[in-house]
């Protein structure tokens, strides 16, 4: 049975006043401004852009955990699927590869889908008993082997086409902005499959199932080279904003940069980042608006009622499992959108860089610290924790640098400290999460 902090650990602190969000958001702005003044605006804008994406991921997890108490530890998988969508939608198609093996790959995938369909039909139509089990196993094995044989031959053909630069089918060559909703759809589809099996069972089971699906999605991304080149990475994904190099050659732009006294190179990097910031902020505002509307609608009240007491909500005639499935799919879709945006920002998909501590558990820290159940809190947590994550490493390095300065030259401790500063992030995140859970379990901006 799922119960949330507010039901078990009542916070005795005074109720938050209306000023609190304003003050905290202003403080966050100050942190970013200080970072900009001390470490450069390019650096600060990089943090802001990733902070916006992190805030969207946190919104998605907050939908699942804050609204419904669902425990999703497969955020990384849904984010990665969103990234895959960016490749599938925006990369130019590789026509040679399609000619070589595209049809066979499609046929293999269709065979796989048919197998699943056949399994569902057998499961629903046949009478229970030994012959049903036998039929299920036979269909599964035969379908799997047939699909794999067809897919395998197509895969080999596709991966042989110019492997050093392509070796994959490529995408549809559509505008990259279309990839963002597509990423949401892809993640939603995966979430539906997971939710359909694991929801309605104990809450821990959903956690373990999502942990598994994230690993599997990453394994597919890393090993299916025909899909998105695997660990060879897809680079040069088209960008929705003009490239720096184009701006620098544009006489109009350089003239305007000169008029405000900026070097064209610096001006172009800042301008590109600002454009991204505008796009991301627009998406965040739309999603935040939708989430706020949802929270204050009858639907949102029903969700919270289910979260706080499933038995009572079920007694009122609410279908707990299907409402859970609904919000699980929605939350994962938001994570998928953020994943597609992140790959757009980077301009590349690098499956090797997806780590659960960074893409699943860090998002959880954002939601808990920001305030689960509060959309503004999740967004604030997204910014704050991302800022902290980025800033801890240089701060740790200079701190350790100061310590090693007192030590004798070439001391083994110095070398060890240098390596250690890279792991300061994990330690800081753990400490922050535990402190918030212990002393302020409702987070910075508590749910009202």
């Amino acid at each position: 049975m799922t119960t949330l902090p507010r039901a078990t650990l009542t916070n005795t602190a005074a109720p938050a006043s209306n000023l609190r969000p304003v003050v905290l958001y202003l403080a966050m702005l100050m942190l970013i401004l200080v970072t900009g003044f001390m470490m450069g605006w390019n650096y600060a804008l990089t943090i802001v852009n990733m902070g916006l994406i992190s805030a969207i991921m946190a919104l998605g997890v907050n939908l699942q955990w804050g609204f419904a108490g669902l425990f999703n530890v497969g955020v990384m998988g849904f984010v990665a699927l969103g990234g895959l969508a960016a490749v599938l939608v925006a990369s130019p198609p590789v026509t040679d590869a399609w000619a070589a093996g595209g049809a066979r790959i499609l046929a293999g995938l269709a065979l796989g889908a048919l197998t699943v369909l056949a399994l569902i039909v057998v499961r629903h139509r046949m009478a229970a008993g030994r012959s049903k089990t036998l039929a299920l196993v036979l269909v599964a094995v035969a379908g799997f082997l047939a699909a794999r044989a067809v897919l395998g031959s197509g895969t080999l053909a596709v991966e042989a086409v110019n492997p050093s630069v392509s070796g994959y089918l490529g995408g549809l060559g559509l505008p990259i902005l279309l990839a963002w909703p597509a990423g949401g759809l892809l993640a939603a589809g995966a979430a539906w499959v997971v939710g359909k099996t694991a929801l309605g069972l104990r809450s821990d089971y959903l956690a373990i199932a999502t942990l598994g699906i994230a690993e599997i999605i990453l394994a597919v991304l890393k090993n299916e080279d025909w899909l998105a080149r695997g660990v060879k990475n897809v680079v040069g994904i088209p960008s929705p904003v003009p490239q720096e190099i184009v701006l620098q050659q544009d006489p109009d732009f350089t003239a305007r940069a000169a008029s405000i006294g900026l070097d064209p190179v610096i001006a172009s990097t800042l301008w590109v980042k600002l454009l991204y910031m505008g796009l991301f902020a627009a998406v965040l505002l739309v999603l935040l608006g939708l989430a706020q509307r949802a929270l204050h609608s009858p639907w949102g009240r029903m969700m919270r009622a289910i979260r706080d007491n499933e038995v009572a909500a079920a007694a009122m005639g609410k279908n707990v499992t299907s409402r859970h499935l609904q919000i699980f799919v929605l939350g994962s879709a938001v994570c998928g959108i953020a994943g597609a945006m992140m790959v757009t920002l980077d301009g590349q998909l690098t499956p090797g860089s997806y780590q659960p501590l960074r893409y699943t558990f860090l998002i959880w820290v954002m939601v808990i610290v920001g305030g689960s159940g509060n959309n503004w809190g999740a967004v604030l947590g997204g910014f704050l924790i991302w800022w902290l994550w980025v800033i801890v490493e240089p701060v740790g390095q200079s701190l350790f640098g100061a310590i090693s300065a007192v030590l004798p030259d070439g001391s083994p401790v110095t070398a060890h400290l240098q390596d250690a500063s890279a792991h300061m992030r994990l330690l800081t995140m753990g400490v922050v999460l535990l402190l918030v859970l212990r002393f302020s379990p409702k987070g910075l901006l508590p749910e009202r």
């Binding site: 821990d204 780590q355 959880w364 330690l427 859970l437």
Partner: protein, 336 residues
């Protein structure tokens, strides 16, 4: 004769590796299932506890080796293991005192404890990385093989060799001893019985005068011992890498769920079920089949159902099948 060769190839490439891996998973799953049964939450820091215990043991092993102490044909790490277990016990007891106890006394919902264990996971993974970094570490020493493939071929006259690595034998022996000791403890000693009583019905156990703090402390010590042993055996058999231990969380949880969460016997069975399925599905069977079937029947393909990279998919698939058809697991577990 051909069937004999097929059998040897099967033992060499499937049975022995799967048995060793299964024993390691079983020990890991036992720890996770004990925490679930007695402290009543799924501990996401379990993989990191294993990693920390192994890291400490590795450092102690290097220390012993530097002092010139070795364990003859056996790996030095076994000498360091008791000390590693002691240090890991201190860490988890300290964690319980500083972190978990508060929530236990506040009677927090299990899912809150799971979130708390995420924080502990972050800290433990940082500690492990501070201690030994993120690189691959080999710390096996002593004799490499109990049975060498070439010696076996000469002795038996078969084409196929059978190799039994020291680490594999040690894994099976140590895991067997650990499980025997655990079950003796749970079934025969007063403390063990009070732990089982606490797991079955907490209120009744408290009412009959069982000291909960003692039960919890003993549980953590046992968990530290199991996790460190599992981690060291896995590291000896393969190698130590901090991130791999995080990834072990999935097969370990799958093993615990398959066997029935909270049920120690189930955890052991689950560990072997997961390990054997992983190896059977990801092994290329051509070599075995080539011996067993007449030449013209042998197919050209490798006869590998899935590539090794998808081994997580196997644990996951088994997990989903169990969730769909038998949610309490093969052996009856708790359903909270």
């Amino acid at each position: 004769m051909d069937l004999l060769n097929a059998l040897v190839a099967f033992l060499n490439f499937v049975f022995i590796p799967a048995a060793a891996y299964g024993a390691q998973l079983a020990l890991g799953a036992l720890g996770a299932t004990l925490i679930y049964g007695i402290l009543r939450f799924s501990n996401f820091a379990h993989g990191e506890t294993m990693a920390f215990g192994t890291a400490v043991t590795i450092l102690l092993t290097f220390g012993l080796q530097a002092m010139g102490l070795t364990f003859g044909p056996l790996p030095t790490a076994l000498l360091a293991l008791p000390m590693g277990i002691a240090l890991t016990s201190l860490l988890v007891l300290g964690t319980d005192r500083v972190v978990y106890r508060f929530y236990r006394e506040a009677r927090a919902a299990p899912v809150i404890l799971v979130v708390v264990s995420m924080g502990v996971m972050f800290i433990m993974s940082a500690l492990t990385r501070f201690l030994v970094g993120v690189e691959d570490i080999q710390f096996t020493d002593g004799a490499r093989f109990v049975i060498n493939a070439r010696d076996f071929r000469e002795w038996s006259g078969l084409e196929e060799g059978l190799a039994l690595r020291t680490t594999q034998l040690i894994t099976l022996v140590v895991a067997g001893l650990a499980v025997a000791a655990l079950f003796w403890f749970l079934n025969r000693t007063r403390t063990g019985k009070s732990m089982r009583a606490f797991s079955d019905n907490e209120d009744l156990a408290l009412l009959s005068g069982i000291n909960p703090n003692r039960v919890v402390a003993v549980t953590w010590i046992i968990v530290a011992a199991l996790a460190t042993t599992a981690g060291v055996l896995y590291g000896l058999d393969k190698s130590f890498k901090a991130f791999t231990y995080f990834q072990l969380l999935l097969p370990i949880f799958a093993a615990a769920v398959v066997g029935g969460l909270g049920n120690p016997l189930g955890a052991i069975a689950g560990g072997f079920v997961i390990a054997f399925s992983e190896v059977v599905v990801t092994y290329a069977w051509k070599q075995v089949v080539a011996y067993a079937l007449p030449g013209e029947w042998v197919p050209a393909s490798l006869l590998q159902l899935m590539s090794t990279e998808y081994k997580f998919a196997v644990s996951f698939a088994i997990l989903i099948l169990v969730l769909l058809f038998k949610p309490t697991g093969l052996f009856k577990g708790q359903s909270v």
